[in-house]
Symmetry: C2
Subunit: 191 residues, 2 copies
DNA sequence: GTCTATATTGAGATAGAC
DNA sequence: GTCTATCTCAATATAGAC
């Protein structure tokens, strides 16, 4: 009698593979190998490869949003925590599983496509709500642009291993909730 | 006797497929079908699927940079033209073939990986040179950040069909070469 | 240069024993 | 819940005729 493999482990390893190799580049064989199962045994835990996408993104969304500071009590802390959580993963892993899936899933896998839409919409709405409490102008647009800038910066990590664009994107994002508007220094890129 | 299929056609169709489905999601069968050949016949024109990547990106880089206004004579015109060329493709096609490949190629296809690096490095360096002529501060960082913002904005086109983040990224980019610094309007997002 | 035919490998998924 | 065995299909790629 062996310990059954926790579903959570499968989802976490699937996330690693989706992030690195994308939806098409990920095989159930590789995933099975990572969790120590035969490929066929995966199908007793999940219905299909496509179904893994929503599991992966639901877990990621939960990890990103759970236990955030209450925006109504301290929206700056909520914003800072959220931005730093997103940025930390992008920097450590070098890329975003959501972006890879956003580009990688097609109308051939509609459930996966919908899961990706829900993931980014939820993230953007969470950001928007925080900015609304802070009375930031055009909160929805700022939220979308901020997320786009963080995601876009991973281009340079993926191609050149350069995380400085991401760090600058984080600084611009944090400045939105900076209570003391600083005098811009001459050497500072993209104010 | 049939007209041979021009290599250029094959590369252009491969670009469509790579952009939409990524490297792994693109099959030589689909490509052959698009150009009206049997899959096997492709191999008389190109060495492998991997070799298509550098062809695709070389063509794209050429189209993006050829015939730009001379930065030394008019760097603002050069910048505007370059940004608008990049943005136009992203908006029409909804996504960037370079970004899809940047995320999609792995160390299993080192030549493709190198081609992606060269592509983005060349694009960034062209942008940097223009900004240098314009005496913009930190031109290399600004170039990298600008490209990252344009690429990142495609996230919202891909997931929600919303191109407004891209349009705002374009406006921010163009403002860098704006000769008349305007008084910021209250309703303007991400100044 | 394109075709038919084929080799080889790996993909996602199912059936049934333990 | 996991296994062995198997199905079916599609992937990249090569050989050789025309």
């Amino acid at each position: 009698m062996r310990e059954p493999v926790p579903l959570r482990n499968i989802v976490i390893e699937a996330r690693e593979l989706f992030r690195e190799y994308g939806y098409e580049g990920t095989s159930m064989r590789d995933l099975a190998g990572r969790v120590g199962l035969r490929p066929q045994s995966l199908y007793t835990r999940i219905a299909s490869k496509e179904a893994l996408v929503s599991e992966v993104l639901a877990l990621t969304l939960k990890e990103t949003l759970e236990g955030l500071p209450d925006p109504v009590r301290n929206w700056r802390a909520a914003w800072r925590t959220l931005i730093e959580r997103v940025a930390e993963t992008l920097e450590i892993r070098g890329r975003c599983v959501g972006l890879h899936l956003a580009y990688g899933v097609t109308s051939a896998t509609p459930d996966a496509q919908k899961a990706v839409r829900v993931f980014f919409k939820s993230l953007r709405e969470a950001m928007t709500r925080i900015l609304q409490v802070g009375k930031i102008t055009s909160p929805a647009a700022i939220a979308a642009d901020t997320l786009a800038q963080l995601e876009g910066a991973t281009l340079w990590i993926a191609t050149e291993g350069d995380n400085r664009p991401l760090k600058r994107a984080v600084r611009r994002a944090l400045k939105l909730a900076d209570p003391v508007p600083r005098r811009p220094k001459k050497s500072e890129p993209l104010p």
